[in-house]
Symmetry: C2
């Protein structure tokens, strides 16, 4: 008997290099539940009293990052964007699954740096790789990451819990992510210094998932949750606050003069006041946006001090008034004098 092998093209989807890639670069990142990435699937043991929290994001070279961005930062940003979603639910990260679709020019050097970024953040956040897949693509590099976290049953933070009379808070500073993208593109005013540009670019490239804050807002069994509603800011403050309003059936008012700005962002806005649109609508901040009752103010101040992370009250959920439709117009932005600013094609301006 002499019989032919399957054709080369039939094996193209699973070349030996796939197994080599997994063995060399990904297996060292795997935790015990991943069974060395050598079984059909990974195992995840239940944690008594806790729910699992699952979230997934995909990124494409040339769309979500620049093809020549440092591979370790591409990996860490993908991981952190997902961890930010876990933080917004009040969850603690447990692990992740990763699929990669790689073009031929992503060789061992690129993968080594990509895996080094994952290893660094696994150590920082105490998580492991649980499983995944690695395939070839004739198109741009494409990655999909599913993050797994856990939260005590019933204490998960949701978007739909905002109530009339709540105060609206954000963590950290706003606008750095979008200003950082402009810094990387060389689009910021020339008066800004190198240090300020670098600080902004770093914020764009390496989000800080606010996991400890999320856990603090969810509270523990002995306390009530501090926050009524929470989410992370990925699409921009106004757009994301509108999601909370829609889910909660409420409206919101934001004071533009109260937005927390980093020193670098403040310098950028002073050099070009038009850049004030970015803290309001720029996206990529990955800070937590949450609402809390006025009675939580003191506890939030303690939490901010414990975490060494500013929590700034930027507005409120009106105590009365009609809940608006699920559009940006559910969110009113006012200046320091209480005059409304409107989002138009040209940006934010007075009515």
């Amino acid at each position: 008997v002499t019989v032919r092998n399957p054709t080369e093209s039939e094996r193209a989807a699973r070349t030996p290099s796939e197994f080599e890639r997994i063995e060399r670069f990904f297996a060292p990142l795997a935790g015990s539940g991943a069974l060395g990435l050598k079984d059909d699937a990974a195992l995840l043991d239940p944690i008594p009293g806790r729910r699992f929290v699952l979230t997934a994001d995909a990124i494409v070279a040339g769309v979500h990052y620049l093809p020549d961005d440092p591979p370790d930062l591409v990996a860490r940003k993908l991981l952190r964007v997902n961890l930010s979603d876990l933080a917004a639910m009040g969850a603690t990260p447990e692990g992740y699954l990763l699929t990669t679709a790689l073009p031929p020019d992503h060789g061992a050097d690129w993968l080594e740096r990509f895996a080094a970024g994952l290893a660094a953040d696994q150590a920082e956040f105490g998580i492991v790789l649980l499983g995944g897949d690695s395939v070839a693509t004739p198109g741009p590099a494409t990655f999909s990451l599913t993050a797994v976290g856990s939260v005590e049953v019933g204490r998960e933070l949701r978007r739909g819990g905002a109530r009339p009379g709540d105060h609206i808070y954000v963590s950290g500073t706003l606008g750095d992510g979008a200003l950082g993208l402009r810094a990387l593109r060389g689009e910021l005013p020339p008066s800004l210094g190198r240090g300020e540009r670098d600080a902004l670019a770093d914020r764009y490239r390496l989000p800080r998932p606010r996991l400890a804050l999320g856990r603090g807002l969810a509270g523990d069994p002995a306390t009530a949750p501090l926050a009524h509603a929470a989410m992370d800011i990925s699409d921009g403050l106004v757009a994301d606050l509108a999601h909370i309003c829609a889910a909660s059936g409420v409206a919101a008012t934001v004071r533009a003069d109260r937005l927390p700005l980093s020193p670098a962002a403040r310098a950028a806005v002073e050099a070009d006041p038009a850049l004030l649109a970015l803290p309001l609508a720029g996206g990529d901040d990955y800070e937590l946006l949450f609402t809390a009752p006025p009675a939580a103010a003191a506890a939030l101040a303690v939490l901010a001090a414990e975490l060494d992370l500013p929590l700034t009250r930027i507005g409120e959920i009106p105590a009365s008034g009609p809940p608006h439709a699920a559009t940006d117009r559910a969110v009113r932005v006012v200046d320091g004098g209480g005059h409304e600013l409107s989002l138009s094609q040209q940006g934010y301006r007075h009515f």
Copy 2:
């Protein structure tokens, strides 16, 4: 104050059409844990006494399927390939997360058919969409799916449990997947009838994840597991059996004349004996490959009858002899007379 909006390119990664896509096509597929796909992450409650089982696969248009394949079948195959991994662990599927990277030509019509395929299989397998992401790509359509299943703690089927003296079994029939791909390419002998070609093509396009078999092999608390080791056949019988051998530290002997062939596959091999390579090495079968002690034979016969699914003994783990290295050579393939066939560049042949 008049300030500019973020530039269009900054919003390109998350256009309104992303939200529309999710709202229109994916939200209707979501289960209650997915929170309507409107929160930051999905919730998955622990199931007392059970572990979760996680697996992920990615597929790329033009690599893993033909760009003009029916979208519903693309969706169902992606889902079923992952369910097959759960079956191989003895797990029951619970749900899945899906990320899509779509080129501009994948409009509402394509997505509607893709989502209809998911809906059909959700109903068939009793699962729901838990979460995901949908982004744009300038490259080929790329999908990543993470499947979540559960299995009773300690009863999961692993690759590493094969023992000397075990019998080797496969479910169903082998070679249909690889022959089906050839049928779709018009590469099968002209003597084959339309019905045979269609039957083979159907097996390639729509794998049958052997979930009930996996659960049966894992057994229940009152019984010992029937199988010592199991996996699903995706890369071809010989290559996948080599994975079991490597994980278990054993060798294996397969009788080529015992491979279960469907009527259509038998007709194809009779028309062209060279095609016998496909049941051995062709991949895409998604049957279960498992080893079991001789004492399990009667219980396996009962299980096969209950499931109306052939379980064929195709070889054994030698009772003695050195465990081979982790290569295909851990697996010996012999003909009906006991003479060894070798896998060469030209296919299987006698030494």
